[in-house]
């Protein structure tokens, strides 16, 4: 069974009286434990696609199933619950909570979203910090970390709830090339270790080469012949 299945997926935005199509009839499937990249220039629809898969936005046409759930039918609360249970996010600007330590940032979804018991929580957070190589920085605040370290913490936070799917919108855009490559390698390692599917968007050619499956987007469409297997 596919993890993500899109058929004739569409997304239009209303700007005043004008309807602007952002995604025009996209069809694709993503299998479990895959490492997939959406690539394309700015405005091609990468972020819109990731937002819809992440239940942050709703399709205006077609069908989109994530983990066999038609995410277009979820209301606001159901979408939040679905995200909390199944999806992890890694952001371009890291988006760690500045008043929480590294440990607490990773712990946050287990406390505030999933209500894990304290002992299990601690074991899981330490496991993830160890996995991303941040266990020696657990007490630091985000402003004491480098960009690469912040993104490793963000990856740990995305994985801590045992999410089936991690969405990363331009996760390397604010990192230098070497760090960006290390973050991508970390994500791949996490996929191997935990079997989590990673979907990320990028327009960096070197980063996109790391993906095992690449969907090229242009003007809201998946470019014919733009699907590459790495």
């Amino acid at each position: 069974m596919s993890l993500v299945q899109a058929v004739g997926l569409e997304k239009n935005y209303r700007v005043g009286e004008v309807t602007v199509p952002a995604i025009r009839g996209a069809d694709f499937t993503i299998e479990p434990a895959s490492f997939v990249s959406f690539v394309g220039p700015s405005g091609s629809g990468k972020s819109t696609l990731l937002n819809m898969i992440g239940c942050l936005d709703r399709p205006t046409g077609g069908s989109l199933k994530v983990l066999n759930t038609d995410v277009g039918t979820l209301d606001r609360k159901q979408a939040a619950a679905f995200r909390g249970a199944h999806i992890g996010f890694v952001f371009q600007d890291f988006n760690l909570v500045p008043v929480l330590s590294v440990y607490e940032n990773v712990e946050y979804p287990l406390v505030m979203v999933q209500n894990w018991p304290a002992a299990q929580r601690r074991a899981r957070v330490l496991e993830l910090l160890e996995a991303v190589g941040m266990s020696d920085q657990a007490d630091k605040r985000p402003d004491q970390l480098s960009g690469g370290q912040k993104q490793r913490v963000a990856v740990a936070r995305a994985l801590v709830t045992r999410a089936k799917l991690v969405l990363a919108d331009e996760p390397t855009a604010n990192l230098d090339h070497a760090t960006a490559y290390r973050v991508i390698e970390l994500m791949k390692k996490m996929r191997d270790e935990f079997g989590t599917t990673f979907l990320f968007s990028t327009h960096d050619p070197k980063i996109m080469e790391s993906a095992e499956l690449i969907y090229a987007l242009e003007d809201g469409r998946i470019v014919p012949g733009g699907v590459h297997h790495g």
Partner: protein, 415 residues
């Protein structure tokens, strides 16, 4: 809940200057209100004490209709001996009472043999009057209580008349009064003492022995104008009033209507208006406090929401339920309110303690050594604390609601 409060605390500390400023504003408001409540309450209690303990007692019993024409001190509305007997029996059965004083009140002409003026006379039983109005013996400016508050054949006059008529202790004066039947009678009296004017409606009141009053009025039975009653605990006034209303209400006139009426001190003095004004001012200050808390918390929480939009978007994106995001911001408002309340209350209690240790003296009328001893009732402190905290939560609800309802994509895109 603990985690929500922990996160809220850290967010408040993150903007420590703003938090300090807002909490200080709430603290200031709390201190202003509690100090006003403590000082005005003390002033009110002091004034009420002066009036009830000098003159009125806590309540009075009259014949029906007497209070409506009390300015004239009518002799045709005296309580009949049969009613007086029943009242005495009833009062003796009430353990809540300390003392009660029978009085005959009437108007008379006061003459020093060269000049004449009007005077209000109180015929009293000296021992019972002193027990009912314990501040009365302390009002002597000249002369003294001697063997009783006022001896037979003697008179206590207010200083306003003593000065106006140039009369001093030991002087002989004449009182001329109109009797119940309309005839006029005069008697000489010796001035035993000059009294400081009472606060309130007793400015021209003089005192003589109740037997002298009966003699002057040629009153041969036990009729009385009023009973002034003193309670052991003034807080029991409503219960005592209810009990007296019920029992004395059974004494009826020939028309079958209640023959007597019971009034508390509030109905008998114009100071009630001042006391009500103090209560109104207290209410106004409380409303001001509510406005201060509401505006400051609302302002600070709206700023917090706009400043942390991307953070809110992140929390929402990773699945934080909207009610928990709402809880985070409400908790910040709650903590701000609580901090201001606790600090403000502690400062107020400290200041009240200091003022009790070093009381402030002030003058009111001719009384220049009155001391303000402020106190705060636990109920007042609790009410203000709960009010401020509730308003703080209320004020943070709108910004918190906005945060909880925020679209994650819009929030994440904000700068």
């Amino acid at each position: 809940m603990v985690n929500v409060l922990k996160l809220a605390t850290r967010n408040l500390l993150r903007y420590h200057r703003r938090t300090t400023l807002t909490a200080s504003l709430i603290t200031l408001g709390i201190v202003a209100v509690l100090m006003f409540v403590a000082l005005s309450g003390s002033f009110k209690a002091l004034m009420i004490g002066q009036i009830t303990d000098s003159m009125l007692g806590h309540l009075q019993i009259h014949r029906k209709g007497y209070v409506a024409s009390i300015d004239n001190l009518p002799l045709n509305l005296l309580m009949k001996p049969a009613a007086v007997k029943k009242i005495e029996e009833q009062l003796q059965q009430m353990p809540q009472l300390t003392a009660w004083s029978p009085r005959i009140k009437f108007s008379a002409m006061f003459s020093n043999f060269t000049e004449t003026t009007g005077i209000r006379l109180n015929g009293i039983d000296p021992i019972r009057e002193a027990a009912t109005c314990p501040l009365l013996p302390g009002r002597f400016i000249d002369g003294s209580a001697g063997n009783g508050l006022v001896e037979q054949g003697k008179l206590l006059i207010p200083d306003i008349i003593a000065k106006g008529m140039k009369v001093k202790v030991g002087d002989t004066v004449v009182l001329v009064a109109t009797n119940q039947d309309g005839s006029v009678n005069g008697q000489t009296f010796v001035v035993q003492g000059v009294l400081e004017s009472a606060t309130g409606p007793g400015g021209r009141d003089a005192y003589l022995h109740i037997d002298d009053a009966r003699s002057l009025l040629r009153l041969e039975d036990a009729s009385l104008s009023e009973y002034a009653v003193r309670l052991k605990d003034p807080a029991q006034l409503p219960q005592v009033m209810a009990e007296l209303d019920a029992t004395l209400g059974q004494i009826v006139n020939p028309q079958g209507q209640p023959a007597l009426e019971v009034h508390d001190w509030k109905k008998l003095t114009p100071f009630t208006a001042i006391a009500n004004m103090i209560d109104l001012l207290t209410l106004f200050i409380k409303v001001m406090l509510v406005a201060i808390v509401l505006i400051s918390i609302l302002n600070v929480m709206i700023m917090a929401v706009y400043e942390r939009m991307r953070e809110i978007g992140t929390l929402a994106a990773i699945g934080t339920p909207p009610r928990r995001i709402l809880g985070l911001f409400v908790a910040e408002g709650l903590l701000l309110g609580l901090t201001g309340t606790v600090i403000g209350t502690l400062i107020s209690l400290g200041a009240v303690g200091l003022l009790r240790a070093y009381p402030v003296s002030f003058a009111f009328g001719r009384q220049d050594s009155l001391q303000l001893v402020p106190s705060l009732a636990a109920g007042d402190v609790l009410f203000i604390g709960v009010l401020v905290t509730a308003i703080a939560v209320l004020a943070s609800l709108q910004p918190a609601w906005k945060a909880a309802r925020m679209d994650p994509i819009t929030a994440l895109r904000s700068v």
